[in-house]
Each structure stands twice: as C-alpha cells, then as structure tokens.
C-alpha cells in the first residue's frame, strides 16, 4: 500500500518537454509533458476510450491527442474532441494531477487534488544554489521503496556495502540520536576524531582527524535529506565541509522504485575534477545500494510468513519511520472511509 496524499518526485525538469513521457508512481501510470508556456502537465496515462497510453500520442497545442483514435484531452483531463463524432460522452475524462516544479525536480501529488499543499514539498534549495556544486543521478531500484527508506535511515551499512567510497569501520561503533517531529524522522550520528572517509579524503585532499557526522532527515513518505560532512574536532558542524544529499524515493510498484538523487557540496564548488570524481564515485555508491537492495528484496519475497525483522538499537530510526508510515496510511484510510455528510436544507 502507498501513502497517496503526498508529493513524490516524478521527473527531472530536464526530462519533461513537449514530447510526452510516461512514468509510473505508486502503480499509477502518468504521462508528463509541457504546455506551450512551459508549465508541466500530468495526466493519467490511459485514454478514457479504450485504455491506450496517452504518452504514445501527440500534443495539439496544450492538449494531448490519443494516438489510437484521436480522443483529445485538455490539461485538466477533460476531453475536448472525439474525432469520430460531435457528442463527447460525459465520462470521457482522465485524471489530472497537481504538479510542483522546484529546484530541478517535478513533484506529483497522487492523492485527492484538493489536499495538495505546496508547503509540504521539502527544502531542496541546495540543488540550484550557486554556493553549492551539485551532482545528480537517477537510478531504478529493483526493490520496494521501504527498503530504500530503511537503507538511508541506517547508515551503518556504509561500513560494509560502501567500503571503497564512504565507508569506514568505525561508523557502526557510534550511537545514534533519533528525533521525531511530526512526520519527520531524523537519525543523527556524530563520529568524533576520525579520519576522513575515502571519498572525502581523495576529493578534498584531507589528512588528520576530524569530527564526522551524518543525519538522515526523512520527510515521510518519499524524501530524505542527508546532512553530512566533516568539521574540525569540537567545532560546529556549520563551519565544516558540508554535503547535502537529497533523495527522492518514488515507488513504481510493490517491487521496484525510482531513486532521484542529488549530491550538493559547499567546498571546491568550482573544482571540475572534484565534480567528475564525485560523479563516478557516487554512481558506484548508488549501484552498490541498488545491488544490495535487489538481493534483499528477493530475500523478503521468500521469507516465510510469521518471520520478522530482528531490530537492534541502530535500527531505531528505521523503526520509528515505519511507525510514521503506518500512521500516515491509517489516517489516509480513515479519510477515505469517512462518510461524506451532505448539508440538509429545509
């Protein structure tokens, strides 16, 4: 099940143009394109006539024409033309989705449109801030989105999965502080007096000991901001070499997800060789995670009923995030089940 009253990253701004594309979000097929004035549009990618994907059609002005029999729909999903007849049947409409385009991502609201609230889209300003240099990737993951949430909320896996890049053998020896504030769960770890991990050391040419930190801030149900970096021993984090890793995790279906990734740094901003090194290094990190979680997905599919995870203290963030997700699902189901009271007039 998916939390639908939520924003999900559905595309990079650069992916959406006047050529319709298809995406699947929470098992909902969606076609994306731009109006002539550049504003993005999202419609359910299934013609109301006989189910043909609208993304295989063409644009006529701001409307989209189905490639099968020419049914044409406006940006609001209402049918504007049926070539074979003048009368347009009342049910000839497709769902239209609220979109928000910000900082290079396009977010889609998959729930009731009147509940879409732009204020709920998390802060991603580092992606377009000139004081930060950003590297981006997109990755398909052959696993349920929940496994990616767990992965980001428990970074002790870096010591084992990412040994050649961001991992070190001390990460799991340091405890975490989990903070729960509404629908945001943060798992914070401070690692004082350690050597800079390989990715930092090679990119920044650092030696000696540093206070290293990372804090995964999960904005349920779809986005993690990983605030990471190293700073002088005993010094405030804000003074250090900072990294903001933004992770838009979008369920495709029960066994696959799309991972939208942005890595922003506030040091060596104009250093092209550092950027190129990070492109390769971060692709390696993501591939290592994708490979690991694909294996985990297989393991979970074959796990017998009645067998559950054995969680440890380092899983506290994972555990709390799961509870927040369960609460969001319950609340959404309650809203769906609540009777609609109609005004009685005499």
């Amino acid at each position: 099940m998916y939390v639908l009253d939520a924003w999900y990253v559905t595309a990079w701004s650069t992916e959406v143009s006047r050529d319709p594309i298809r995406r699947t979000v929470c098992e909902i097929p969606v076609t994306l394109y731009r109006r002539e004035d550049g504003r993005p549009v999202a419609l359910e990618d299934r013609c109301a006539h006989r189910g043909y994907p609208l993304s295989a059609g063409r644009l006529v002005g701001d409307d989209i024409e189905c490639g099968y029999h020419g049914f044409t729909f406006g940006c609001d999903g209402v049918c504007t033309r049926v070539p074979a007849q003048d009368l347009i049947p009342k049910r000839t409409a497709v769902r239209s989705f609220p979109l928000l385009e910000k900082d290079g991502w396009i977010w889609i609201w998959t729930g009731a449109a009147d509940r879409a609230d732009a204020a709920l889209v998390p802060d991603t300003h580092w992606m377009t801030d000139p004081d930060w240099a950003t590297v981006t990737h997109s990755f398909p993951f052959a696993c349920r989105a929940d496994l990616i949430h767990d992965n980001l909320l428990d970074l002790t896996h870096e010591s084992f999965i990412h040994l050649s890049t961001v991992g070190d053998d001390y990460i799991y020896r340091h405890g975490i502080t989990v903070v729960v504030d509404g629908d945001v769960v943060s798992a914070d770890r401070l690692m004082p007096g350690v050597a800079a991990p390989p990715l930092y050391a090679s990119t920044m040419g650092l030696t000696g000991l540093w206070d290293r930190f990372h804090c995964t801030e999960f904005h349920a149900p779809s986005f993690h901001a990983l605030h990471s970096g190293i700073t002088g021993e005993g010094r405030p984090r804000e003074e250090g070499y900072l990294i903001k890793v933004m992770n838009g995790i979008t369920p495709i279906d029960a066994q696959s997800s799309h991972y939208y990734y942005a890595f922003s740094r506030n040091f060596g901003v104009d250093d092209q060789s550092a950027t190129e090194a990070l492109v390769g290094g971060l692709r390696t990190v993501l591939q290592e995670d994708a490979d690991a979680l694909a294996l985990q997905e297989i393991g979970l599919q074959t796990r017998p009923p009645g067998e559950f995870d054995v969680l440890i203290a380092q899983d506290a963030g994972v555990a709390k995030a799961r509870k927040v997700m369960q609460r969001l699902l319950r609340e959404e189901q309650s809203r769906s089940a609540a009777p609609v009271l109609e005004a009685v007039t005499s």
């Binding site: 405890g175 502080t177 989990v178 903070v179 509404g182 401070l190 440890i312 203290a313 555990a319």
Partner: protein, 155 residues
C-alpha cells in the same frame, strides 16, 4: 540509543478522554510476545503516573504500566537550575519528559513537552543545563528488569 520526540502530546486529542499515545512499549507488536511494559501519554492513567499541564498541550498524564514480576518502574522529578550530569545505569531505560522550561542536552535544545528516551550503552551520562530564563523541570521514568539483566528496547 537516544530517541527524542518533539512535543508528542500535541497529537493527543484533548477532547477524547480515551485518547492515548504510546511513547515506548515492549513489545510494540502484542501479537508476537507477551506484554511487559509501556510508557504512554493519556487522559486516563492506570499505573505510575504524573500529570502535566502546560505549553498549550492540555492536561494529560505520563503513565507507566509494567508487569511487576518482570519490570520495576520509578518516576522521579529532576530540577535543572544549573548545569548537571544525569548518570544512567546501562541496564536502565529512561524516559525523560520536560515538564517546564527549556534545557540543553548535548547538542539538542529540549522544550516543554519534549520527550527523550535513553537506552543501551550510549549515552550513559546526560549533560543538561537550563537554556531559558529560568530552571527547567524533568520527570524521569526509570525502568529496570527485576532479574538484573539489561533492559533493551528498540522503538
């Protein structure tokens, strides 16, 4: 392990007398193991409890229930008017509720209504200091296993 909950009582419906909110419980999935203990925010206390009324959170109780053959429970109050260190035994689980004022605990500012749960071998010492104009007051729930083994808990 440290778990900081920001003003969880804000989610407690003040008009629903049966409303309750779980802070910590073992187990959290009752179908799997027999119940041992829980710490709740509630309007209807059943165990060891303390009333709170402030910071716009409405009157409610921190309520501790435990099987006496397995778990011992204690509820203390701690005033923080000067910087001090609170020492926890590794075998204990603590639930600290900020009753009034604001205090600093390490890198974190804790405001009235915030709840901090500490478990395991880190941290064993909490350095706290008043952060506002006046002293802060804490209610501290201390849970121990009767058999002396460490009380372990994952949220």
């Amino acid at each position: 392990m440290r778990l900081l909950l920001r003003r969880p009582a804000a989610d407690l419906d003040p008009y629903d007398r049966d409303a309750e909110l779980e802070i910590a419980a073992s187990p959290d999935t009752h179908a799997r193991r027999p119940w041992e203990w829980d710490v709740r925010l509630t309007h209807r206390p059943e165990g060891l409890s303390r009333a709170f009324d402030g910071a716009g959170l409405g009157r409610h109780h921190v309520d501790v229930r435990a099987r006496p053959d397995l778990i011992s429970a204690e509820l203390r109050t701690v005033d923080v008017d000067v910087p001090r260190t609170l020492a926890r035994d590794e075998r204990e689980l603590w639930v600290l509720v900020v009753e009034s004022g604001t205090l600093l605990e390490g890198a974190y500012a804790l405001a009235t209504g915030d709840v901090l749960v500490c478990e395991g071998d880190d941290p064993l010492e909490l350095d706290v200091a008043p952060a506002g104009d006046g002293p802060a007051s804490l209610a501290v729930v201390v849970l121990r296993r009767v058999d002396g083994r460490p009380l372990r808990w994952v949220p």
